[in-house]
Symmetry: C2
Subunit: 449 residues, 2 copies
């Protein structure tokens, strides 16, 4: 069905590279899709991969380079000269070329840009490098098909054919005025059925969704998803058409964002992959662990304050990991739901309603879990007053944790901070400490030690 | 830039509904995109929303219904008769219609299908209902443009115009043989430039990516993303063309899957939203909390076994929440990276290499955290032997947790179980218990109590 990379194929290619059988290599790779070439490159050693990149024509390798993972691509680009990189970039769409250049060192960027022979292409790439990579400007490509509202339908057809050659998929034809301001759009169907003497201004559709170069990537994704768009035009501060974002880039963007959120929720502070270096993985993982450690030391400190309970109610100390786990779990559950609601823009109702709902929810959960603790106490023959004290303090801890989990992301969001950070070890850690303090405080009131 | 729903607009619409000013309502809503109509419906009361749905023509409301959240849609559909629902379905693409029908009760499904007047449409919907909703069959629509390889280019143009009327976006023209088997594809551009006397078989492109009706949705998404496809044809067991999946549905699918994984990692067992009922939210949240509770009770049991340490080394018990938190955090970090590697299909290298890497990584993290504990001990004047015992047992716990976090998802995946489940409270809970046991066991060996 699809092309499958077998270990036989990889072995064959490795052998052909060793024998320098270039013609046979070309024959093997001729009909292979660039995304599959990328997978093959990943399986080869750096020398072998570089050999293939230099052998194949740059149109194919340019697209394959785009599909590679960043770390593999970096290593291959390091072995290429600035001129060789420039040749690859010439074949790429402007957005891809800009993405790749931005991965190079500042010094290397300049030498590569100087080697670009197509001046317009170079200009476009330099323009794209100016935008934040998570904005519409950073996501857009300069390649698009546009026509002037004052053109005739026939003149337009000729001009369009020429423009379309540089554009992989046309999607929509955009209509601009003499100042390049976006006026509307035109479907290919409309153009084909329009009388040939008509002007574009007679036949175009003036409604068109668009975004600004500074629009946040998340917002672009939301609009394109909401309106099922496959491309959206991007305008500058003056309303001039400067590029367009296509759905394939948005699909990649959505995946990356989802992975980032997932990693943040798992306590990993920067985007990493299983194959990254140990140093990079440590840098991503250790910070949250240290935060967690300080949280744990906080708990140690609190428990030392309740040391007098140790002789009479040692079991309270046995319950502390349970209390901390419950406080953490409930907090993460509550905040995950709020963070998703904020991301999907579907958090409705007043803060008071949300408070009431979270209160009832945590009451139900807390009573259910408290009952289980009382039953456990009966089974193991634990002092019933102690069981009751633990149950009631657990209930309090759960209510507290749920409220923190609900309101911290809402407050962060209002402050303009990404609320997703709240579902990470941050909320777990603070809930752990507060939970343990609350637990001992309430137990002390009930048991009177 | 975009249409913005203001509270004034909502108030205005509510007033017009009250006054039953149908004409003015229609005037207000005429140019509003169906996705925005959906947002307006969500802001209205059930009676008001139903009023609007019945007032607008079904072409517009059908698309708006599709954009609604499930729970809002369910409530509105409950107020409509089977005939009214059937009228909405007539206007929808087959995949949307099938999705909506599948949300109805089995009994209601039959009465609605019986009310469908277009028999072919009804047949198509019934066919789609047979497939698993997460398979290519469940994601595809029957609407597509196809031509027979034996047709002439001119004959084909006429036939195609007719087919294209029912298809929102053409993307690709698929080529089939007399038995409806998928042979290849054709671009509109190829068709326009082909000599009119040529046969389709002379001009079509025989390479075409496709999937089977039973292909998993994740795999469809992966293929479409890898090859930047905007639509992919779907064939049945006999290779016959039965439908196609378009990128807008895949974008929704990717988002939903990402949300599910995120919720699973946050200990929420079924897909919920902040606005769901308290009962539904409890059902999604309580199971994992109960699992965590049993885990906590396991820790209580373990600590009772080490009770003899209580008098001499009470501080060990103060450190248990810290140990449990570290074991949980490290486990979740390790498993999140593996789960993403598995999902992205980029986990390379042997198991032994992975083992070595995870060992070195957890050694580095564990030593760093252990040192901090020794420093903390010096600062608060803790017995140095105790500090050392805690550090060394923490190191052991971290190595253990990292290995569990790494290998549990790999084993689950090999067994055909979704590895994402491993990042949830499941791994946290088991790591908590094992971590606390290891902690006391090692401490006992070092301190000798």
């Amino acid at each position: 069905m699809q092309f499958q990379i077998s270990s036989e194929l990889i072995e064959k290619i490795k052998l052909l590279i060793e024998q320098q059988s270039n013609e046979e290599l070309l024959l093997h790779l001729e009909d292979v899709h660039h995304a599959d070439i990328a997978e093959i490159l990943t399986e080869l050693s750096l020398e072998e991969a570089t050999y293939i990149v230099k052998l194949l024509d740059s149109q194919k390798t340019a697209e394959a380079l785009m599909e590679l993972e960043v770390n593999v691509r970096e290593r291959i680009l390091d072995t290429l000269s600035s001129k060789e990189i420039a040749e690859e970039l010439e074949e790429m769409d402007t957005d891809d070329a800009a993405d790749i250049i931005s991965e190079l060192s500042l010094e290397r960027q300049q030498t590569v840009i100087a080697e670009l022979s197509d001046e317009e292409h170079a200009d476009n790439i330099v323009e794209l490098l100016r935008y934040d990579e998570n904005s519409a400007g950073g996501l857009m490509a300069k390649e698009l098909v546009k026509v002037n509202e004052n053109w005739s339908v026939t003149g337009c057809m000729t001009e369009m054919r020429q423009q379309a050659e540089n554009v992989t998929r046309v999607h929509s034809i955009y209509v601009v005025d003499d100042k390049n301001k976006l006026k509307g759009r035109l479907s290919l169907k409309d153009l084909l059925t329009a009388p040939s003497h008509a002007n574009i201004s007679d036949v175009y559709i003036p409604q068109v969704d668009y975004v600004n170069v500074h629009t946040d990537g998340e917002e672009v994704a939301r609009i394109m998803q909401k309106y099922d768009l496959e491309a959206i035009p991007v305008v500058d501060e003056m309303g001039r058409l400067v590029g367009r974002v296509t759905i394939d880039d948005i699909v990649d963007f959505i995946r990356e964002e989802a992975e980032k959120d997932y990693q943040m929720a798992s306590g990993i502070s920067e985007s990493v992959e299983a194959d990254d270096s140990i140093w990079r993985l440590t840098r991503a993982r250790l910070p949250w662990l240290i935060l967690g450690l300080f949280g744990g030391l906080g708990s140690v400190y609190i428990m030392q304050g309740f040391e007098e309970a140790l002789s009479r109610f040692p079991v309270l100390f046995f319950f502390t990991p349970l209390i901390a786990a419950m406080a953490g779990n409930v907090g993460v559950q509550s905040s995950a739901i709020i963070v998703q609601g904020l991301a999907n823009n579907n958090l409705r109702g007043s803060l008071f309603n949300r408070l009431m709902k979270e209160l009832s929810l945590s009451l139900i959960n807390g009573i259910a879990l408290g009952l289980l603790i009382v039953i456990f106490g009966l089974v193991v023959g634990q002092d019933q007053a102690v069981s009751l004290a633990i149950s009631i303090s657990l209930l309090t801890v759960i209510i507290f944790a749920a409220l923190v989990g609900t309101f911290v992301p809402i407050i962060l969001d209002k402050q303009g901070v990404d609320p997703a950070i709240a579902t990470g070890p941050f909320i777990t850690t603070s809930n752990d400490i507060c939970g343990i303090f609350l637990f001992f405080f309430i137990s002390k009131m009930i048991l009177g030690f």
